[in-house]
């Protein structure tokens, strides 16, 4: 792959010019068959698109220009994401760009930056996240995977779970216990691990929709060079927590429920459901829940565009968007009646309809990325200032 050459200074470009350029590029280059896919996109599906973005210099909108990124300001970052979502562009296995890259830039050594950043950018290294464990889900700091320092290596033993697309990845970034502190958040370290290291085993886990989307990752005396520690020993919690911002805005975006609403509307029209006042009432209530949620989302977008940091109140977007999406897919299945429980894609009076996949894929939306209950805890504590 050629290295990125487009070193345009996007600060100098007007917002609307930038939007037009992104839109035109996405419409021209993104594979139509991958628009609005529901499953988490696999590397084999996305690598062509990755390459196009990389060659254009657009794979890392959040990275500085010196590292081959676009260095977008907050306003243009929002535009970039909006245009991707608008066209139904799937998220590639991008944790290297959104998560580990920025953390290496902030906490990594010069040697780590030199080695990992260019390879992450080009797609040579694909990252997955090793955080959750069978006994550490919402209570992540309770993790037990151990990394014991022996000479110049950490010896890692334990297991990670719900690791999305681990079987596509070349590397995993890991939180492991290296010591004991007064608080369970202390004594955790952040490690970069090559998945080809001996002692690592992957077990794909089939989800409710029938896809192998995530994996269990076992570590059996895995030797990780000491130089792969990011940040200070025992201080990995600080490293992992440093990621805030757009991630939390994107996860509350109304695009997915909006798309599901459009599908439901087309199917309902084809089936003549708009003649049923009961259906119309429920459909309209959901439509307004989505539109009103989009208005609330717009408030946070404006805040980001003004360059203001997002506060804990952004958690409300994820709760509202994901719970509304679930209710919508429930109505979709109900509207399908007998056809609503048929597996796969069906023709319903000339409209292509998939009832079950939207229903399935909206189920974990209130579990991943901080469950709805955790988001409510955050709002209760930090926004409503209720006693703990």
């Amino acid at each position: 792959m050629s290295s990125p050459t487009a070193q345009t200074d996007y600060h100098a470009m007007g917002d609307e010019d930038f939007r037009r350029e992104v839109r035109a590029f996405v419409e021209r280059e993104y594979p139509p068959r991958l628009r609005y896919i529901l499953h988490r996109a696999r590397w084999r599906e996305m690598k062509g698109w990755w390459r196009r973005l990389y060659e254009k210099g657009w794979i890392a909108p959040n990275w500085p220009r010196s590292r081959g990124g676009m260095a977008l300001d907050a306003g243009k970052m929002v535009i970039y994401l909006e245009e991707m979502e608008r066209h139904g562009v799937a998220r590639p296995p991008d944790q290297g760009i959104t998560q580990v890259g920025p953390l290496i830039m902030r906490f990594g050594t010069a040697a780590q930056q030199e080695h990992y950043l260019p390879r992450t950018l080009s797609g040579e290294y694909i990252w997955c996240q090793g955080y959750s464990e069978p006994n550490a889900g919402s209570d992540l700091a309770g993790l037990q995977t151990a990394a014991v320092l022996e000479g110049e290596h950490f010896v890692v033993n334990g297991q990670k779970i719900w690791t999305s697309l681990a079987d596509d990845a070349t590397h995993i970034y890991l939180l492991a216990r290296t010591g004991k502190g007064a608080k369970k958040q202390q004594g955790i370290s952040f490690l970069l691990v090559d998945l080809k290291t001996p002692g690592i085993t992957l077990r794909p886990i089939r989800n409710l929709a029938g896809h192998d989307e995530f994996c269990q990752v076992f570590f059996d005396n895995v030797r990780v060079p000491r130089g792969n520690l990011v940040g200070e020993l025992d201080d990995g919690w600080t490293v992992a927590k440093a990621l805030l911002g757009f991630e939390r805005l994107s996860i509350g975006s109304p695009r997915r429920p909006q798309y599901a609403l459009n599908r439901l509307e087309a199917i309902a029209r084809a089936k003549g459901l708009f003649g049923d006042p009961g259906f119309v009432d429920r459909f309209t209530a959901l439509k307004l829940d989505i539109e009103d949620g989009a208005t609330l989302y717009g408030r946070f977008v404006e805040q980001v565009k003004r360059g203001e940091p997002l506060g804990h109140d952004v958690s409300m977007l994820k709760i509202w968007t994901m719970e509304t999406w679930q209710r919508l897919t429930e109505l979709l299945v109900e509207a399908g009646a007998e056809q609503g429980v048929l597996a796969g894609v069906h023709d319903v009076a000339g409209v292509e309809a998939d009832f079950l996949n939207p229903f399935y894929y909206s189920r974990p939306a209130t579990i991943y990325g901080g469950s709805s209950e955790i988001q409510r805890n955050i709002l209760a504590k930090y926004v409503l200032k209720l006693p703990g």
Binding site: D292, G293, T295, L296, M316, W320, L379, A380, L384, P387
Partner: protein, 385 residues
């Protein structure tokens, strides 16, 4: 405050809206309290004309009235700041009924002489007009009128019954819709007109809807505000603007009810800790907060749309969106507020119940959430076909 600096206020800015909000908060702190609200409950006076004059003095009654008729010529976003702030204090004065609905209908009227004569009096608080346009429970179509206006000595003779007239208690005049020939007319009827009899139906919140029985009540030609399509448009516009500002009032009601609930959760101790430490209550409180934020966001966006004076279908859609969302959020929040407070919430002496009752009335008035969602659905279907 506002009235003296109206020249600089004709271009809305964050700064002037901040000042406006401050003057409303100041007024609420000094000009009214819950004891006054309780005193006026269930009385025939219903509200205080002296306080009404003070509101006029602050320029609030003229926010939506063009400058050439003595008003400030500002927009609904400004009016919403006043309405939301005053609703926190549950004032019984008919701000939305008069300074929004009646002012909008009269402002949209065709009779220039009538507007020049009466709008400045409305702004000054000297004429308190309200709309008398409804007849059937749940009938919110301005064209569904059975009251008849028959030509008589150059004017009109009115016969029929108008119901659900908000703010009627001390109203000086009624903007009455009536059928004349094939169309609808809108007439300004002074309260003390022979043949116009007013009775009252008490409401949950201590106010009352007026019922206006008309038996050969005479209105001179000069009282004809608008006729035909112009009369229906004036009523439709008044309805939509009324819905939006009723939404702002609902927002003020939910603001205060949620505040009271959160204070209670932080201070009420049971089982050795503040009840707000219990997750079951925390999560319910968070959901109410989300509903309040949704309602605020929708209100703000819709006011912005309405102040750009869109065509009738877009105006109606924006108004319905606000009324539906704010009604749902306010009823949910005020109902839950009772539960949060436990037994004390069920007493008349504790204020939180007053917020529930105001939310009930503001929700039913000008159409409830389901009615507005259905109208929104119809508008969406019309605009897509």
């Amino acid at each position: 405050m506002m009235a003296t600096s109206s020249g600089t206020l004709s271009t809305p800015s964050a700064e002037h809206r901040g000042l406006l909000a401050e003057s409303v908060a100041d007024f609420v702190a000094r000009g009214t309290d819950i004891a006054r609200v309780r005193r006026l409950r269930g009385t025939s006076a219903e509200y205080d004309r002296a306080l009404w004059k003070k509101m006029a003095g602050l320029g609030w009654l003229g926010i939506l009235v063009p400058e050439r008729y003595g008003g400030l010529g500002l927009g609904l976003a400004d009016m919403a700041i006043v309405a939301r702030g005053l609703a926190r204090a549950l004032i019984p004065e008919p701000l939305t009924a008069t300074a929004v609905a009646a002012a909008t209908a009269l402002g949209a009227a065709e009779n220039e002489a009538l507007k020049r004569a009466q709008l400045p009096r409305l702004v000054a608080g000297d004429l308190l007009p309200v709309l008398a346009w409804q007849e059937q429970a749940g009938g919110l179509d301005p064209a569904a009128v059975e009251t008849r206006a028959t030509p008589f000595e150059g004017g009109f003779k009115l016969n029929g019954t108008k119901r659900f007239v908000a703010g009627a208690a001390q109203a000086d005049a009624f903007l009455v819709s009536a059928r004349a020939g094939g169309g609808v007319v809108l007439l300004l009827l002074p309260r003390e007109t022979a043949g116009a009899a007013l009775s009252f139906e008490p409401l949950a919140d201590g106010r009352a809807f007026g019922t206006l029985a008309l038996h050969d009540a005479l209105v001179p030609r000069s009282g004809l505000a608008a006729s035909g399509a112009a009369a229906l448009e004036a009523l439709a516009r008044a309805f939509d603007h009324g819905c939006a500002i009723a939404g702002a009032e609902l927002a003020g009601v939910m603001d205060r009810a949620l505040e009271m609930s959160l204070d209670y959760l932080r201070t009420r101790v049971q089982f050795g800790k503040p009840i707000g430490a219990f997750q079951a209550l925390q999560h319910r409180a968070v959901d109410l907060h989300i509903h309040r934020e949704l309602a605020s966001a929708v209100l703000e966006e819709a006011l912005d749309v309405l102040d750009r004076n869109p065509a009738a279908p877009a105006r109606a859609a924006a108004a319905s969106r606000v009324k539906a969302r704010c009604a749902d959020a306010a009823t949910r929040i005020t109902r839950e507020a009772i539960q949060f407070h436990g037994a004390i919430g069920f007493t008349d002496e504790f204020d939180v119940g007053l917020y529930l009752k105001r939310a009930l009335v503001l929700t039913a008035w000008l159409g409830g959430a389901t009615w507005h969602r259905r109208r929104y659905a119809r508008l969406a279907i019309e605009s897509s076909t």
